[in-house]
């Protein structure tokens, strides 16, 4: 049951699931957007998710959505051996109607049935155990092969609207998806009508919640016992409790070495300093500031174009007098949350008057670029794909106005008020 996603390979299973940001997922969808939820689930766990359906009165809705996404998705049906004949018919007719091609009937272990329910009357004496062998065990077994499953659970019965989320993370590290969490009876009815979905044959006879034939009269009790046990497996309601400090895979490195400069991507003439490089011979290389200081005399004699790499903790003051030696200053942003580079950039450009290229390297995202530009950074080495795409489209994320003067050129002009400045027209 390997996750097909490359995300966080090497992390333990639960961390990978947490990395999906379950809590955040729950905020992403309109309450009624069952289809969106379902699609997202299928995308999250390609080939690794199953739909559990009772083929009861309400099941047509979610199965119809499943069919529209991928009729080959596995649909698990608990064939307890105790169903109404009408239900078994309905499994056939509905599957055919929707074109579902992967409906799997989960049957109890014959050995269990022989041992615990030889006469088929266990439901009368001990419905919990009956459910256990006919539902819980087969379902557990089947779900062991999946990273997540989709249920048709709805929350409209419960008063508290915080109870049942779209996505949950169960204690056994599976994603449980409840696309219909916010739907009520009339939503279901309306959908069924709109899509002209075949009705469970018993629905017309007044059955609303249809389970095993033997227990439908006592369905409330039987169902409660079962669902209580299901809930027991994740009784911490884990899904909504996880912190989202999930580890997320780093963006993939870009294949081609390009730098965004003057409004477009160009081949990057610069390279990084490497172990074994010679201070007197390298060219077009960003030399780390401590390396430069260590071999300062030699570097100053090197006749080739050189760049300087400034890490967040480096004291830019220590090379203030030498900045003129460099054609490019690269400011490292090892994590976009580390804002020290903004101060470095302003010092380099505003205080020390450096006029060459100032580039940002590292974890550069589109939402930081306008801040970086205002601090004097003019070129960007970007790995994050969507950011590259946005830059290539000329979407630089600039705001039209700024409320404070920053940088060499951002002084109040003309009649404009103090602190105000129109944004770059670019």
């Amino acid at each position: 049951m390997a996750l097909a996603d490359p995300l966080g390979a090497g992390l333990p299973q639960s961390d990978r699931l947490r990395a999906f940001g379950i809590v955040a997922l729950n905020g992403m969808f309109d309450e009624m957007d069952a289809n969106g939820v379902l699609r997202q689930a299928v995308e999250l766990l390609p080939g690794d998710i199953a739909i559990v359906s009772s083929f009861g009165a309400d099941s047509a809705v979610i199965l119809h959505m499943v069919a529209s996404i991928d009729p080959g998705l596995p649909v698990l049906f608990l064939e307890t051996g105790k169903h109404f004949a009408e239900t078994l018919d309905y499994v056939e007719t509905l599957s055919r109607h929707l074109g579902l091609t992967n409906v799997r009937a989960l049957r109890p272990d014959p050995e269990d049935v022989r041992r615990f329910d030889p006469n088929g009357d266990l439901w009368e004496t001990d419905p919990d155990s009956c459910c256990h062998i006919r539902k819980t065990e087969p379902l557990d077994l089947a779900l062991a092969g999946f990273g997540g499953w989709v249920t048709g659970r709805k929350r409209f019965q419960t008063a508290d609207r915080g109870v049942l989320p779209h996505f949950e993370l169960t204690s056994d590290d599976r994603i449980k998806v409840n696309p219909l969490a916010y739907w009520n009876d009339s939503d279901i009815a309306a959908y069924r009508k709109a899509h002209d979905l075949p009705e469970h044959p018993l629905y017309a006879e007044g059955f609303r919640s249809i389970g095993c034939a033997s227990c439908t009269s006592v369905v409330a009790e039987g169902e409660d016992a079962r669902s209580g046990r299901w809930r027991g497996r994740n009784k911490t309601e884990c899904g909504i409790h996880f912190d989202v400090n999930a580890r997320i895979a780093r963006p993939l490195p870009v294949a081609e070495a390009t730098v965004f400069s003057n409004g477009r991507f160009i081949a990057d003439p610069w390279r990084d300093w490497a172990e074994g490089d010679a201070a007197d011979g390298v060219r077009y290389t960003h030399v780390p500031l401590p390396v430069f200081l260590e071999h300062r005399e030699t570097f100053l004699k090197n006749p080739h174009p050189l760049g300087l790499l400034v890490a967040p903790g480096d004291a830019i003051e220590s090379v203030a007098g030498d900045l003129g030696r460099f054609a490019s200053v690269a400011i490292a942003f090892p994590a976009f949350t580390d804002g020290r580079g903004y101060s470095t950039a302003r010092l380099v450009t505003e205080r020390y008057g450096f006029v060459g290229e100032v580039r940002a390297v590292g974890d550069v995202l589109i939402d930081q670029i306008r801040l970086m530009r205002r601090c004097g950074i003019t070129a960007f080495v970007v790995a994050h794909e969507p950011t590259r795409a946005a830059l290539a489209d000329g979407r630089l994320g600039d705001l039209p106005v700024y409320l404070q003067p920053v940088g060499r050129d951002e002084v109040p002009v003309g009649s404009r008020r103090f602190l105000r400045r129109a944004g770059p027209s670019a």
């Binding site: 969808f29 309109d30 409790h241 903004y342 106005v401 951002e410």
Partner: protein
């Protein structure tokens, strides 16, 4: 009040559009949660235990009736019909849906409000005295300078990814009602030798797990240089503040570890380079902004009640006037605090209906202006004394007339274990039980001013460090216990409470508070000596002994 010009409007509109785009990219999966988190945080959107929470900035706590009405509308339309006013003079909505957030931001932008920088590691909403521009003891109205700081700090490109959040408070009165010494930077009006007004700058105050009182880094910075000075502090902090440990990342730790003198040297060196530059504030600009804050057109009105007569006629009203009104600089007027601490309620919560009522009353009796106090109450800053009775009647009808401001039941309590994932113990039930114990107004009056503050854990959202009596939820081997502190003070006489002894159970806490109060009542030099004054004179010993016996 300040009114947006085309720049402010353009700025907020652009930010709303930008965030709408970010939300869309998040939904489309182009941004993962790690990448989205700092972006949503900069737009005030938190992820809590159950749902998103949107925190809306109320700059320096000032609101118009129109804005209050819009907040009520948002509470009703996008939330569950209420909002929560915080100790940071903000309002929080606890149940917005991600896809609705851009629409909410549009609604806010329509009344010149936003949620920018109410979270994230940036410069947060500037806070000030809730009585600013009205208080009789004020040296200078701090709001124009607060507004200028707001503008300067809005999406400041250099200071958007600081080591940690950064809070600035400012007061123009010698009696500090903005707890400026418990902020990263605290500004207090001061005068130089020539008698000019400027700002005394404190740095490195804060609460949390390591409470610190802000230290005076510069006793007088003129208006003109203030922004350059602030930028110098921020730059030193941005460059050298610790980033290796979230709990040691606030500027208070930097100041503590490096020493005030070392930090001052660095700041002064920066300031030397920055002073006289583009951030120099022209007097004309200060005047221009100050013009937005000119006092309203006060009427010549009757100035006083005979409280004795009122007391006999309507004791509740007399109590309300005594406790909830504050001296105004304009004769015939008062500032009125509306308590959001009813007996048994959650401190700071207001329903949409109550917000509407407050807006109406502000319109009728306070020139359409309201304030949010950092003690989670609402202030109507300019009420004619002759209108007090009508105002009180309106508040009674809305269930907002609790006359307990400054008294023992005007508590601050954090959400605690009932709502907060980090909590060790419950806060609100403790507050509720205390408010019942001390519900008798006569007893409240006998006790006088006493601030109880309750936090459910060491993060100190309930400001227990500065409670005259502080209550802190701790956990020992799975049971909820409470530590009692005494002697904290958030005012200009800032002090941090000291722990009296081992933790107590929830059942013991009300009794312990009664013991402390009784000890005070017996020991006070006169009925005029307040609890905190008595504690300052007597020290911990008598209280400790009363609570834990002598050893």
């Amino acid at each position: 009040m300040y009114r947006y010009d085309e720049f402010d409007h353009g700025f907020v509109k652009a930010r709303t559009e930008e965030f709408r785009d970010q939300v869309e990219r998040r939904v489309a999966g182009q941004l993962n949660e790690d990448q989205f988190r700092p972006l949503r945080l900069m737009n005030g959107l938190y992820l809590q235990l159950h749902a998103y929470m949107l925190r809306v900035a109320i700059p320096y706590g000032t609101l118009s009736a129109t804005q209050m009405r819009r907040l009520a509308h948002i509470a009703r339309t996008y939330d569950r019909g209420y909002g929560h006013f915080t100790t940071r003079q903000n309002i929080q909505f606890n149940w917005p849906r991600l896809k609705d957030v851009p629409a909410i931001l549009d609604e806010l932008a329509g009344v010149e409000m936003h949620a920018i920088q109410t979270s994230g590691n940036c410069i947060r909403n500037v806070t000030t005295d809730a009585f600013a521009g009205a208080a009789a003891d004020e040296v200078i109205d701090p709001r124009p300078v607060a507004e200028i700081i707001r503008q300067w700090s809005s999406v400041h490109p250099e200071f958007t990814y600081l080591p940690r959040k950064f809070k600035i408070a400012i007061t123009g009165a010698p009696n500090d009602r903005a707890a400026v010494k418990f902020h990263d930077i605290g500004l207090m009006a001061s005068a130089n030798a020539q008698g000019e007004i400027g700002w005394a700058v404190h740095v490195g105050g804060g609460m949390g797990r390591t409470p610190m009182i802000g230290k005076l880094i510069n006793g007088f910075v003129p208006h003109a240089d203030l922004l350059a000075y602030l930028e110098s502090i921020l730059r030193v902090y941005n460059r050298y503040g610790r980033r290796d440990n979230k709990y040691k990342a606030r500027v208070k730790i930097l100041v503590h570890e490096e020493g005030l003198d070392a930090i001052r040297d660095q700041v002064e060196a920066e300031f030397e380079a920055a002073r006289g530059g583009v951030l120099t504030l022209p007097q004309t600009e200060l005047d221009r902004i100050a013009a937005y804050f000119v006092p309203p057109e006060f009427a010549e009105v009757a100035t006083e009640f005979d409280l004795e007569v009122e007391r006999r006629r309507d004791p509740a009203f007399a109590r309300f006037v005594e406790n909830n009104s504050f001296p105004h600089r304009q004769p015939g007027y008062a500032s009125v605090t509306v308590s959001l601490k009813p007996v048994g309620g959650a401190p700071g919560d207001a329903s949409a209906e109550q917000m509407d009522v407050l807006a109406d009353l502000a319109k009728k009796y306070s020139f359409g202006e309201l304030r949010v106090s950092h003690e989670q109450n609402i202030v109507l800053p300019h009420v004619a004394i002759s209108d007090l009775r009508d105002l009180h009647a309106g508040l009674v009808a809305a269930g907002l007339a609790t006359g307990n401001i400054g008294s023992i039941t005007d508590m601050i309590a954090c959400p605690g274990l009932d709502y907060c994932a980090l909590a060790n113990a419950r806060s609100i039930p403790v507050a509720q039980e205390l408010s019942r114990r001390f519900a008798d107004p006569a007893r409240q009056k006998q006790i006088g001013p006493l601030k109880i503050k309750i936090s459910g854990c060491i993060n100190a959202c309930g400001h227990h460090h500065v409670g005259h009596i502080g209550i802190l939820g701790v956990e020992k081997k799975g049971t909820e216990l409470y530590q009692i502190t005494i002697g904290g003070d958030a005012t200009e006489q800032a002090s941090i409470g000291t722990i009296l002894g081992p933790g107590l159970s929830a059942e013991q806490v009300p009794g312990a508070v009664e013991t402390l109060v009784d000890t005070y009542l017996l020991a006070r030099a006169s009925p005029e000596e307040s609890f905190i004054a008595a504690h300052r004179r007597l020290g911990d010993a008598p209280f400790k002994e009363a609570l834990y016996g002598s050893r």
